[in-house]
């Protein structure tokens, strides 16, 4: 839609003002993380003398949890894409009876409250020894990534022209080769989108971290923050510093993979 270009800048000013209002909490978080520890009354509106002690404390207390989150998130990306890509391929390219059932199942997953899943998994994990384990968290956290990745990739693979695949088949490529060297490269965008979101879902997970871990051995940073508040009201700079560090992936994705993020938001809902 083309509009008259002349009256642009006033809207920009309004837009910046609105954004400033919306993002104020984020600014305030960053500001707080740069204040010295101590009396919460003496906060200033600008970190004129940035103090990194909050980050030092946060890294000392939560550094390990950040690594745990990273490991779990990456593991979940690998698992989710590994499960979802072939499934999306099969759902779009093969005429399989029962495929509708799988799709229906995926739709149902969007309705299932996480707490219901966690409730049942706790017992199973207790029996299998998966409580407080990386594998257990990766498996549980992928409940967000797998259905989402299937939805995103299916939408993308559906638009691959049948001729491309036919041509490759005629050239004697096996199904697996077609998948690997034709379908996956063509769906690169969808793969990245799915990976970005799976990473963010898992990185942000709180429910499974809260319910499926009971010790400090495997503790994602979201849970770390939760237990930080309350225990250290006097160290809001360290709490907010942890929060800032936990926000880094989201900010990075927004800068580096902006297009995929926007795609994911719209495609995921429009399935």
């Amino acid at each position: 839609m083309k509009r008259a270009p002349g009256r642009g800048w006033p809207s920009t000013v309004v837009g910046i003002a609105l954004l400033a209002l919306m993002l104020f909490p984020v600014y305030w978080m960053v500001n707080a993380s740069l204040q010295p520890a101590g009396n919460t009354l003496q906060r200033t509106w600008f970190p004129s003398h940035p103090d990194l002690s909050g980050y030092v404390t946060a890294l000392r207390d939560q550094g390990r949890n950040l690594v745990t989150s990273l490991v779990v998130a990456l593991g979940s990306v690998v698992l989710s894409l590994g499960l979802a890509a072939p499934a999306a391929y099969a759902l779009t390219q093969f005429r399989l009876r029962g495929a509708d059932l799988v799709l229906f199942g995926i739709l149902i997953t969007q309705m299932a409250p996480g707490i219901a899943v966690a409730n049942a998994l706790y017992g199973a994990y207790n029996d299998l020894g998966l409580l407080n384990s990386y594998l257990g968290l990766i498996l549980a956290d992928s409940t967000a990534g797998v259905p989402f990745a299937i939805i995103i990739m299916r939408a993308s693979m559906r638009s691959i022209p049948g001729e491309i695949i036919e041509a490759a088949r005629v050239d004697g490529a096996g199904r697996l080769r077609v998948f690997r060297s034709v379908v996956l490269p063509v769906s690169a965008n969808a793969l990245i989108t799915a990976a970005v979101f799976t990473f963010l879902f898992t990185w942000s997970d709180f429910l499974f971290a809260l319910t499926l871990t009971t010790t400090e051995s495997v503790r994602p940073v979201t849970l770390g923050i939760y237990q930080y508040i309350g225990a250290h009201t006097n160290q809001w700079n360290a709490i907010t510093a942890t929060a800032v560090m936990a926000s880094v992936p989201a900010a990075v994705m927004l800068v580096v993979a902006q297009r995929y993020v926007t795609d994911g938001a719209t495609d995921g809902a429009a399935k």
Binding site: W28, M111, V117, N119, G123, T240, A243, M253
Partner: protein, 307 residues
């Protein structure tokens, strides 16, 4: 050996192998979904009829108690309160997110310098871990030291400050506000996408007919945006009804249980009181609610496809 039957068998076998090979692509994902959604949902249903407590972890014994879990939770004083809170929280969040999300989407529909950049920056609240957002807001809203009350006092709008987290009705408003803040970007993104899909010539035509901006919104934008609207509203409701993170972080369900929803109750029962049977019953009530929304969603999207 006669050749014909053999080749028929071969064809059948080949077809079978072909099918099998095709299913191998789906099997891992399907197995995963069955294990991590199918099993929990069935297990929850079974547990909700059992006396399933920590004892069960020792002995494996979970005696069936019929409807006892349901009658216990449904007859508890807390249930009607939690149900009402869930309703208010969901309705307030969804309406607020939608109204503001639509406003942002309409705003960004104008072309202006830096518009694209600002629009993607708006996504940030949605991408942040909910625990981070919750923590930040909890701190902003702290009745004594938070910047929200500091600003209100500075503007002389209140002398004592608003008990954002310590008043029973204010706390509910607070968690709704936070959830609206989190949900605006998603609503904006979908509605913006919907607006972009409306052909420009329709607006031109409306303009030629002398329609003002309000009339063109009513007669062009709104009807054509309906599919996107139903998607955000229903998805918003489905996602909001099960929100747990924000409430746990911002208010912990308090004060005096004022922000307890069905989801936090289910968590409370299972993981604080170790009454897994009752927790399961509570989450099943939640599932029924979600399913009701899902049915609405399916019907709405079918209608949208027919349009």
């Amino acid at each position: 050996m006669p050749s014909r039957p053999r080749s028929v068998t071969d064809v059948a076998r080949a077809r079978f192998l072909e099918r099998l090979a095709q299913w191998m692509y789906i099997a891992p994902a399907a197995t995963y979904l069955l294990l991590f959604f199918g099993y929990p949902l069935v297990k929850n249903l079974v547990m909700s009829f059992q006396q399933y407590t920590i004892t069960t972890f020792y002995t494996g014994a979970a005696p069936f108690v019929g409807m006892e879990n349901y009658s216990k939770i449904l007859s508890s004083d807390l249930f009607p309160k939690a149900l009402l809170t869930t309703f208010l929280f969901t309705a307030g969040s969804v309406i607020g997110q939608f109204a503001l999300g639509l406003a942002f989407a309409l705003f960004f529909q104008r072309r202006f310098p830096l518009g694209g950049l600002l629009r993607s920056l708006l996504l940030l609240p949605w991408l942040l871990p909910l625990v981070v957002s919750g923590t930040t807001w909890r701190w902003l809203l702290d009745p004594d030291t938070g910047v929200a009350n500091a600003a209100l006092r500075g503007l002389h709008l209140t002398s004592s400050g608003v008990p954002w987290l310590t008043g029973t009705s204010q706390a509910l408003v607070s968690v709704i506000l936070v959830n609206i803040w989190v949900g605006i970007p998603f609503n904006t993104a979908i509605l913006y996408g919907g607006l972009q899909d409306i052909p420009a010539h329709l607006y031109e035509a409306a303009k030629l007919d002398g329609a003002g901006s309000l009339a063109s919104f009513r007669h062009v934008t709104w009807p054509l945006l309906r599919p996107a609207v139903s998607v955000v509203l229903v998805l918003g409701a489905v996602y909001t009804v099960k929100v747990l993170d924000i409430i746990l972080v911002v208010t912990g369900g308090g004060p005096a249980g004022a922000t307890e929803t069905l989801a936090t109750q289910s968590y409370e029962l299972s993981f604080r009181q170790f009454e897994f049977g009752r927790g399961a019953a509570m989450s099943n009530v939640l599932i029924v609610l979600s399913l009701a929304f899902a049915v609405v969603h399916l019907r709405a999207s079918r209608r949208a496809q027919n349009v």
